[in-house]
């Protein structure tokens, strides 16, 4: 079983590194997708299929699409997008990442993992029940947050659409 784990781990690491180091922006996005798929693979190894499927659906289906849309809208559509490499703020990046790694390592060593993991397979309707019974408050707050975000996006889109109308309007007259 460990063979699969190591294989998957290298795949995920490759994806993560690719997302950071590759020149072409869209290639970074694609390797990011590879990274998300690797994470889904881990969930399957832990026999949590529901989370794996949700991970694929949410991350690969939606977040990666969002990232690609963002790339498309901001970068010039066809041109090759070469980043200027790490640039002069390379040292700041190194420093911050070191700090983050030390914090993580200490946290993992001291704090023993909570062992309330139920034995045997967690079926989806169990997840459903707990989601709606014990964790109902965070569930509702998140849904309000999401609707707020959606309304915000619409308001932003509506604004730009209005002044775009004037833009095409005057372009037509000239």
């Amino acid at each position: 079983m460990e063979l699969f784990f190591y294989l998957l781990a290298t795949l995920t690491l490759l994806g993560a590194l690719g997302a950071v180091l590759l020149k072409n922006l869209v290639h970074c996005a694609l390797s990011l997708i590879l990274f998300f798929a690797g994470i889904a693979g881990f969930y399957i190894l832990l026999q949590a299929e529901f989370i794996a499927a949700v991970q694929i659906l949410i991350y690969v289906g939606a977040v990666a699409t969002l990232v690609l849309f963002a790339i498309m809208l901001t970068q010039n559509v066809i041109g090759e997008t070469t980043l200027k490499g790490l640039g002069q703020n390379r040292w700041w990046a190194l420093g911050i990442s070191l700090v983050v790694i030390t914090v993580l390592v200490r946290a993992i060593q001291h704090q023993t993992l909570p062992s309330f993991l139920p034995e045997g397979r967690v079926t989806t309707n169990e997840i459903g029940h707990t989601l709606v019974t014990t964790y109902v408050l965070p569930f509702e707050v998140i849904s309000i947050l999401l609707t707020g975000a959606m309304i915000g996006a619409i308001v932003v889109a509506m604004e730009t659409k209005k002044n775009k109308q004037q833009a095409t309007g005057d372009r037509r007259r000239t």
Partner: protein, 392 residues
């Protein structure tokens, strides 16, 4: 609470958009080699996202120097070349050229020949409008079904042309003063059969298309051509009538024997792609009425005048008097005119064609501004251009 706070912020924040999110203009060549430009026609389109911001048509890919060749050849020699002008309706091209030369040389056309010419012209109108509706649906994306129904009906009419004139599309059938040969024996029965079940085909076609919600939502209020713009740009034919202008040369000029027939001219109201599509379907029904009347009243008699027959026999001796003439007819695409200047020799001094497609095409940009790429294609399709006629 959170949402209201967000809305308040957005009202204040958004008043001064310093960084407007401007998308980049995309310059696309809907080029000479494109599945739905009805031949070699290029549109240089500037797109903002999907909407058309600027559209510059580029033509001339099919220019064959037709008018200069005609100056070197005898009058009859350029008759077969007129088939190649608008290669879908060759009979009406021949008719327009024949009428122009008859006006120039003052040749009389016998009764039977007039009736034969009207029957052929109206059959060509059926062919052209059926084909156009088929190709318009092709541009809209229907996978060839309406086009192949149109081809099925067109074949029956082309078989008639082949039996009478010798060729299906390049008929070269009209001569100055009449027609090359009389109707072949089985013509009348076949014509009666076609005229009888054409309305049934049109009903089936309308059942498939006119009420179709997708077609209605795609074509209604798209590519609107206002009445004054159509008149200013001297557009003619179904394009003009769809905008509501009552101008049909068969009624205005009353050339050949059209005043004898009782038929009506359909007019659109809004002048969008849907009107152009439906006006053509109604015109087809009117053509069938003309065909029925012509079939009943066709007299026996000679099919070409004496003078015309000798002219056809030896084209070199056919010398029209000095002077010029402009003959025009209502071709399925609009007003097709021939302007001939003769200096007494067997070759015309100046030979000019007034092509309806070319002139209807000049207002393509005004119709396409502000609409989507997909609309620009169907507006081009609804204008009904044939590149042979546009580039000559």
């Amino acid at each position: 609470m959170f949402v209201i706070w967000l809305l308040v912020i957005s009202r204040t924040e958004m008043d001064k958009p310093e960084t407007t999110l401007d998308t980049q203009m995309l310059e696309v060549n809907i080029g000479p080699q494109h599945p739905s430009t009805h031949g070699v026609f290029r549109m240089n389109v500037t797109l903002d996202g999907e909407t058309v911001v600027r559209l510059k048509p580029a033509m001339g890919y099919l220019h064959r120097n037709h008018e200069k060749i005609a100056e070197g050849a005898s009058y009859l020699a350029s008759m077969p070349f007129t088939d190649r002008l608008d290669y879908i309706c060759s009979m009406t091209n021949n008719l327009a050229y024949a009428i122009a030369v008859e006006k120039l040389a003052g040749i009389e056309v016998p009764e039977r020949a007039q009736y034969i010419r009207v029957i052929m012209a109206e059959l060509t109108r059926l062919v052209n409008h059926t084909l156009l509706v088929g190709f318009l649906l092709n541009d809209l994306g229907a996978f060839f079904t309406p086009t192949l129904y149109a081809f099925r009906e067109r074949e029956k009419i082309l078989d008639l042309f082949e039996a009478t004139s010798g060729a299906r599309m390049m008929c070269n059938y009209m001569r100055f003063g009449g027609v090359k040969a009389d109707l072949h024996p089985g013509f009348m029965e076949k014509l009666k059969e076609i005229v009888e079940n054409y309305p049934r085909f049109l009903d089936e076609f309308e059942k498939l298309l006119t009420e179709n919600e997708i077609l209605m939502s795609r074509c209604q209020h798209v590519g609107i051509l206002p009445k004054h713009l159509a008149v200013d740009a001297s557009a003619t034919g179904p394009l003009l009538r769809a905008s509501g202008v009552d101008y049909d040369i068969r009624k205005v000029d009353g050339y050949s024997i059209y005043p004898r027939f009782k038929f009506r001219v359909p007019l659109g109201s809004v002048g969008d792609v849907y009107d152009r599509y439906y006006v053509r379907i109604l015109e087809m029904r009117e053509s069938i009425k003309i065909l029925e009347q012509a079939m009943k009243e066709i007299p026996p008699g000679e099919f070409i005048s004496k003078q015309g027959a000798t002219g056809a026999k030896s084209p070199r001796t056919f010398r029209p008097p000095k002077g010029d003439a402009y003959g025009r007819i209502e071709s399925p695409k609009g007003e097709l005119g021939f302007y001939l200047v003769s200096d007494g020799t067997p070759n015309p001094y100046r030979y000019h064609v007034r092509p309806p497609s070319f002139i209807n095409l000049t207002i393509l940009e005004d119709m396409c501004l502000g609409c989507k790429v997909a609309d620009a294609i169907i507006i081009l399709g609804s204008v009904d251009i044939v590149l042979g006629e546009v580039d000559r």
